[in-house]
């Protein structure tokens, strides 16, 4: 039972960052109809940005975290402005190819700049874990959980309760009508991509210190984000948030009780099973997807 509880806690912490990744990706897909292959690279970018800020510039960890998220937003806006804006109206395969190309460029630029050796981010948290009954949790992981939750809630509030969020939702429902109602579609696209990228960078910045920072860390993140988004239904934000937690629990339990080697396979098996039996995702309402 203790072991099970420990897995649940770990799953919860991992899940909060997975949810961030998933929400970012599903926002971009839902609103822009772009399958964002650079998502994992923005995640890696966030992790490297924190490393750069704390280890090389000597900035405070928390300030570095904020800077990483802002840098992620800016990089996302740049990608959207330079590469996706000229392709508006192109079919989904075309933008996908461009995003794959960008992903390759970004990953190898990271490899070129940082080298292949993994980096460790130093945090101000104490090394001794917090003990709650039989369960051990490091302070850093608690911080990750809190920050992840805060960001998820903030994104929710932004989309559900602001004018910008309303414009995003209307673009999601019907782009042309939204444009007729005076929504600046191009602006919404750039903001959406920036927001999604910022969330990915935040996930990377939070998980970077927990694990290690390496150029290839983005690949798994991208693929897991896809799994999460499929799980929740493409374009469904609540679904992505829940999907993130579900994937994390399945991975934790699968790794704990079945085989740790197949940990990363869980996400893909979930994708395959979901798409075979319930292609629109687990939590779809009546909205149109895919």
């Amino acid at each position: 039972v203790h072991e099970f509880l420990q897995h649940l806690v770990n799953g919860l912490i991992l899940g909060s960052t997975y949810a961030l990744l998933g929400i970012g990706l599903t926002l971009i897909f839902g609103i822009m109809r772009v399958v964002n292959f650079t998502h994992g690279e923005l995640y890696a970018f966030g992790a490297y940005a924190v490393y750069f800020a704390t280890a090389l510039l000597g900035i405070n960890f928390f300030v570095g975290l904020a800077l990483a998220v802002i840098a992620g937003c800016l990089l996302g806006a740049l990608i959207e402005y330079v590469l996706l804006r000229p392709l508006q109206g192109a079919d989904i395969d075309t933008t996908m190819l461009v995003m794959i190309g960008t992903w390759i460029v970004m990953q190898n630029a990271e490899l070129l700049y940082w080298g292949g050796v993994a980096k460790a981010v130093i945090t101000p948290f104490p090394d001794e874990p917090l003990q709650i009954g039989p369960i051990y949790v490091s302070w850093l992981r608690i911080f990750v959980l809190v920050m992840g939750t805060v960001l998820i809630v903030a994104t929710y509030l932004l989309i559900d309760h602001t004018k910008l969020g309303k414009a995003m939702r209307s673009t999601f429902q019907d782009r042309d009508t939204a444009a007729l109602m005076g929504v600046n579609i191009k602006g919404i696209y750039t903001i959406t991509f920036a927001l999604g990228s910022g969330l990915a960078a935040a996930a990377g910045a939070l998980l970077g210190p927990v694990f290690l920072v390496a150029p290839t860390m983005g690949d798994m993140a991208s693929l897991k984000a896809f799994a999460i988004v499929i799980l929740g239904g493409l374009g469904n934000i609540t679904g992505a948030a829940l999907g993130g937690f579900i994937l994390a629990f399945v991975e934790e339990l699968g790794a704990g009780y079945i085989s740790s080697g197949y940990r990363d396979a869980m996400g893909f098996l979930i994708i395959i099973v979901i798409l075979l039996f319930r292609p629109t995702g687990l939590f779809t309402r009546a909205e149109r997807v895919g």
């Binding site: 897909f29 399958v35 590469l83 000229p86 392709l87 109206g89 192109a90 079919d91 989904i92 395969d93 075309t94 996908m96 190819l97 461009v98 794959i100 190309g101 960008t102 992903w103 390759i104 460029v105 990953q107 190898n108 630029a109 490899l111 070129l112 690949d219 693929l223 896809f226 799994a227 499929i230 493409l234 085989s259 080697g261 197949y262 990363d264 396979a265 996400g267 893909f268 098996l269 994708i271 395959i272 798409l275 075979l276 292609p279 895919g290």
Partner: protein, 344 residues
Amino acid sequence: MKRVLPFLCVVVFLTVPFWLQDQYFLHVAITTTIFVIAAMSLNLLLGYTGQLSLGHVAFFGIGAYASALTTLGFDVELVGGLRIVHSPWPPVIGFPVAIMIAGLCGYLIGKLSFKVRGAYFVIVTISFAEVTRLVALNWVELTQGPLALNNIPPYTLWIPGIGFHEFWSKTAYFYIVAAVALASYVIIQRLVNSRAGRAMVALKDNESLAVSVGIDVTRYLVLAAVVSAAIAGAAGSLYAHYVKIIDPDIFLFIYTVTMVIMVITGGKGTLAGPVVGGIIFGFLPVVLRSFASPAMQWIIYGGLMIAIVFLLPQGIVPAVERILGRARSAPQAAGSPSSKAGDK
């Protein structure tokens, strides 16, 4: 001219070992040809049926492992104490086994994944490739995992009067690879110019219209997937017996991306496209390696991929055909309405 050009290409291709004595270049020619075969098979799905299959490397890898395991033999214990022992067979059998197993996987994956389209299809195919990679990595009893399968023997052929001949030399191996490449080209050409091929193109251009005139969508898509997977499996077998060592990295997504770059650069939906693209990206590393590190090379590839989509959305072959004013006589290439990526 139109008849002479392909003939000339084949002649130049088949005489490569005569004017290319350098072993390194011959090696590049062999690996390039293997990748051209894989790219041709991907083009059948990507170019003709219009399905962006991003798990293609799975079939290549499955072919490689199937062929290697058939020739090396294995001894695995399945769940429930069921033990399967397989003693080594000659590589001549490994090759058709690779084709059959890859084709079978193509059938299963096609049956399952063609239920969904667009972004869903892409993600299912990627997931499939990743799952095969993780199985190859973790099923150590069968695949040796990260330790790799070593000492895969070269192909042997029984020649009357000589007996069994082992293909160790690069020249001999080049001809084997060339023969498979030509056979694959002819098979794909026959297929796309048949009734089934026209049905596939119809599906790509307008699926609902195609369905409304009575084309059985799934049947033709699965047919394309089986042929495509089988050819990719053949390429995988050629690769395994050439490099003689394979590890789970053979399933990496980056190889699928390489194939996709080859196809779209050359021109998807054209017969010559993957060949042209494959040759460009097969030999580009040779040109680049003197002054660019591997990471830099990949940056250039990625940049080229983006540039191609922006500047030559249909690829090189249709563009060249247009310039030569022969677009009319190549009905399968130009003028397909589905690629208007360059539009503002």
